[in-house]
């Protein structure tokens, strides 16, 4: 078996409706455009009129092992095109239902940016719920489609990040995605952490 074949193929479904106004996401996606084994798929760029090519998207899903939904956390949820994408692409008989089990060996990860602080996303904070609690609908969607939902990669406080902070997050994200691709992740440890990026050194295996 070649090294290539053991790689996990990663599909990034990126959704930001105003990338020209973004501070964090614009930097985050820069290194992700041309990495072998990682398909960067900008939904707003591809479907500005929201007419999603369902067959093409389903084919993309089948061709990848890890699905990454990368987006700002709008109103505790997804930007609208990602919802449209879920509504149309995850058809009965394809993603779920009696005949729909094509996704059952795949993983789903959210990469989320939010202006709210970690502190605000607590039962005592202004947002009252944790990010994980707010992601319940997505987690249930993954469950129904037999996708394994990993903890999200979350960046808080986006309005106050310095450019050094943003650079650090960008590096972390790239590292984790590369590790996912090369199977250098300790999934047992991943499952016990709340965010994928809480402690990178804990979940990354030393590359051999």
């Amino acid at each position: 078996m070649t090294v290539e074949a053991s790689h996990q193929k990663i599909l990034i479904l990126f959704a930001h409706p105003a990338i020209h106004k973004s501070r964090v996401n614009r930097e985050l996606i820069k290194p992700l455009q041309n990495i072998e084994g990682i398909t960067f798929h900008d939904l707003y760029e591809t479907y500005p009129n929201f007419y999603i090519d369902i067959k093409k998207e389903q084919k993309l899903l089948m061709q990848h092992d890890v699905i990454v939904m990368m987006h700002p956390f709008y109103w505790y949820s997804l930007p609208s095109i990602l919802k449209e994408w879920l509504d149309l692409v995850l058809e009965h008989g394809f993603a779920y239902g009696n005949d729909g089990s094509v996704l059952n060996t795949k993983k789903l990860i959210s990469v989320i940016t939010t202006a709210g602080s970690h502190h605000s996303y607590q039962s005592t904070g202004s947002n009252r719920y944790t990010i994980l609690q707010l992601l319940a609908p997505l987690m249930q969607t993954a469950f129904l489609c037999q996708l394994e939902y990993l903890p999200p990669f979350v960046i808080h406080d986006t309005l106050h990040l310095t450019s050094e902070d943003i650079a650090k997050h960008t590096q972390d994200l790239e590292k984790i995605l590369l590790a996912l691709r090369d199977d250098n992740i300790d999934f047992a440890k991943v499952k016990s952490s709340s965010y994928l990026n809480t402690d990178l050194s804990a979940i990354l295996k030393l590359s051999s």
Binding site: P17, A18, I19, H20, K21, S22, R23, Y44, E45, T46, P48, N49, A115, G116, S117, S120, G125, S126, N127, D157, T158, L159, H160
Partner: protein, 624 residues
């Protein structure tokens, strides 16, 4: 010709063309008839403004026909010509031989000696390339099946001129036979002549393939437009001269040269350079045909000349109709084909004077024939109008009665008036969704084409209310007004609303001004015909300039909304009495738009994506 006299004559000809052609086109007659009538008016029998040179001018202007054939050659790739070979040989040969046969018989029967009857027959079998091709290209019919067949016949006639020129001296009624004149190689024997002819054609083919391109490249590199034009003209004229020198038709020779250059990269430049010369010369030719009609001969023997014209047109069209039927054309196409070619042509003039010179024809008879041929040329545009206005609609209506059950057509929920580029798109979409639509269109050619794709289209003018009622407007739920004449559309819309106020009308309008006209009459479902296409291109333009796709789309959508609102605000002000107010409002509206797009007003009242602006969200972020 004196130099002053030359300019005087030129001014007369140009003035006649400039005045009469636009007028004729305006009246729907086409340019050819305009030129011919202009010629008659300035000719010796009306105003008498052109002098004794008009014959010379006509011979000079015949070169326009040569240029026209060069241009046709440029359009026709050799492969296409090869495809037409059956038509050229089949239709062409049949037309010439049957027409010659028929006229020979008739003139023999009328008491002329057989040799003269045959000469007349051959000459009258010619039709007018100049008139027919000019009319067909004005109407865009060249590429149609009838156009191709017509062209094939004309091309074959061009080739047949040469043997006919050779035969005429043999049929002389005088005892002495004159040699075939005006050929440099006529003293050689037949084999040598054939060899030289073939050699020269081969030389033209070879140099066309290998020499002309480097030559034109060299000339083009000089970057002097007029030198390139001169070279183009030289090419045409030299070809014509060579062909004449070896006794072939110059028109045919330049046609060949054109076809050889059809696939070269200089095709469009050559076309653009020759086109104006061709147009002017051809116009000049038509004018001089008109000016040379000898009305004295007509007045001396009107009954005889009219009989000649009648015979000429009748026999030619009967033969043509017969041939078209042999080639399995439908009746409508056969009629167009036979009416189109039923005139005598410019070659008749050449051949008639050739016959007189060789004493194969008496001058008085030749003169009568010249008049008859010229008048038959004037009749051609009229006959084509007759075909377009009366025959074609008749055939379409008859087809309708055959094909459609009127009751079925009368209960459709949608009526589409106008099924051109605009209406067709709507029609296709409705039909794909199994929605039945009754379609009305005015353009007979268009209807025929659309029917081939399986649409049911009725021939009819949507401004005729009886037709709309026959189309079932009383039962329709939706009236789609997709004709391109906005003024007419507004009349129709008002008429329809008056009688069926509940019927929803969607109307295509040309532009902003026409949109105002509709809004003033309270029609709000209006669609500016190129608006959405422009906007779609604007989206792509912004994308090409680096805008993210979704942002580009939203910018354009914002613009569209802004513009549509502005149209609905401004229409009341549009009109003479409010001009200043209208202009001020328009300026204000443009300023608002600029503000909305400028970045420094983030947070201002005109922005359309504030929610996604981190600057605007800072407040919220800080409080949490």
């Amino acid at each position: 010709m004196e130099y002053k006299d030359f300019f005087y004559q030129a001014a007369i000809y140009l003035l006649a063309a400039v005045l009469s052609v636009p007028l004729a086109k305006r009246l729907g007659f086409g340019s050819v008839l305009g030129y011919l009538i202009a010629g008659i008016i300035i000719g010796p029998y009306a105003l008498g403004m052109v002098g004794e040179h008009s014959q010379d001018i006509m011979h000079f202007a015949e070169f326009g026909v040569v240029m026209m054939l060069f241009l046709i050659g440029l359009e026709l790739r050799p492969a296409l010509l090869w495809q037409l070979r059956a038509h050229i040989l089949g239709l062409g040969l049949l037309q010439i031989s049957l027409t010659t046969f028929a006229f020979s018989g008739i003139f023999y029967f009328l008491g002329h000696p057989l040799s003269i009857a045959v000469v007349i027959g051959m000459i009258l079998s010619m039709s007018s390339t100049a008139i027919v091709i000019q009319i067909f290209s004005e109407k865009g019919w060249i590429q149609t099946p009838v156009g191709q067949a017509t062209f094939s016949v004309l091309l074959f006639q061009d080739m047949a001129v040469i043997p006919i020129m050779a035969i005429i001296p043999l049929l002389t009624y005088a005892s002495r036979a004159l040699p075939v004149p005006n050929s440099l190689i006529s003293q050689l024997n037949h084999w040598q002549q054939a060899l030289v002819t073939l050699g020269i054609i081969a030389a033209i083919v070879v140099s066309g393939r290998f020499l002309l391109r480097p030559l034109f490249r060299f000339i083009a590199q000089a970057k002097l437009r007029e030198v390139f034009t001169a070279a183009s003209l030289l090419l045409v004229i030299a070809n014509a001269l060579i062909m004449q020198a070896i006794g072939l038709s110059p028109a045919l020779g330049t046609f060949l040269a054109g076809a050889l250059l059809a696939e070269s990269e200089y095709r469009h430049e050559l076309e653009a350079d020759i086109e104006p010369f061709k147009g002017l010369l051809l116009g000049l030719f038509f004018i001089s045909v008109g000016a040379n009609i000898n009305f004295n001969i007509l007045l001396e023997n009107p009954a005889g000349i009219l009989k000649l014209i009648f015979l000429l047109v009748l026999i030619k069209s009967l033969v043509l109709f017969f041939i078209a039927k042999i080639f399995k054309f439908n009746t409508q196409n056969s009629l167009l084909f036979s009416l189109t070619l039923a005139q005598g042509g410019e070659f008749c003039f050449v051949l008639l004077s050739h016959a007189v010179a060789n004493q194969a024809l008496a001058p008085y008879l030749a003169n009568q024939l010249v008049v008859a041929v010229a008048i038959s040329m004037v009749l051609t545009p009229l006959m084509i109008i007759f075909y377009e206005k009366l025959l074609a609609p008749y055939f379409i209506r008859r087809q309708e009665q055959k094909e459609f059950d009127p009751v079925e057509g009368q209960r459709n929920p949608v009526i589409i008036a106008g099924f051109g580029r605009y209406g067709q798109i709507i029609g296709r979409l409705l039909i794909a969704n199994k929605i039945k639509a009754t379609v009305l269109d005015l353009d007979a050619d268009n209807i025929e084409l659309i029917r081939k794709f399986g649409f049911k289209v009725f021939y009819g003018d949507a401004s005729r209310f009886d037709l709309l009622e026959a189309a079932g407007i009383a039962h329709a739920k939706l009236f789609i007004l997709a004709i391109d004449d906005s003024e007419k559309a507004l009349e129709i819309a008002m008429h329809v609303r008056e009688h069926y106020p509940a019927l929803k009308i969607l109307a295509r309008v040309r532009g902003r001004t026409q949109a105002y006209d509709f809004l003033k009459k309270d029609f709000t479902s209006i669609y500016r015909e190129t608006f959405d296409s422009s906007l779609a291109m604007a989206v792509d333009a912004l994308k090409e300039l680096g805008f993210p796709a979704y942002h580009a789309l939203r910018c354009v959508r914002f613009f569209k909304q802004h513009d549509e609102q502005s149209v609905k605000r401004m229409y009341k002000l549009y009109g003479a009495e409010n001009e200043m107010e209208y202009i001020n409002k328009a300026k204000q509206s443009r300023r608002n738009l600029e503000k909305a797009f400028s970045e420094d007003t983030a947070g201002g009242q005109f922005s359309f994506d504030l929610a996604w602006d981190p600057e605007n969200a800072k407040d919220r972020g800080e409080s949490s």
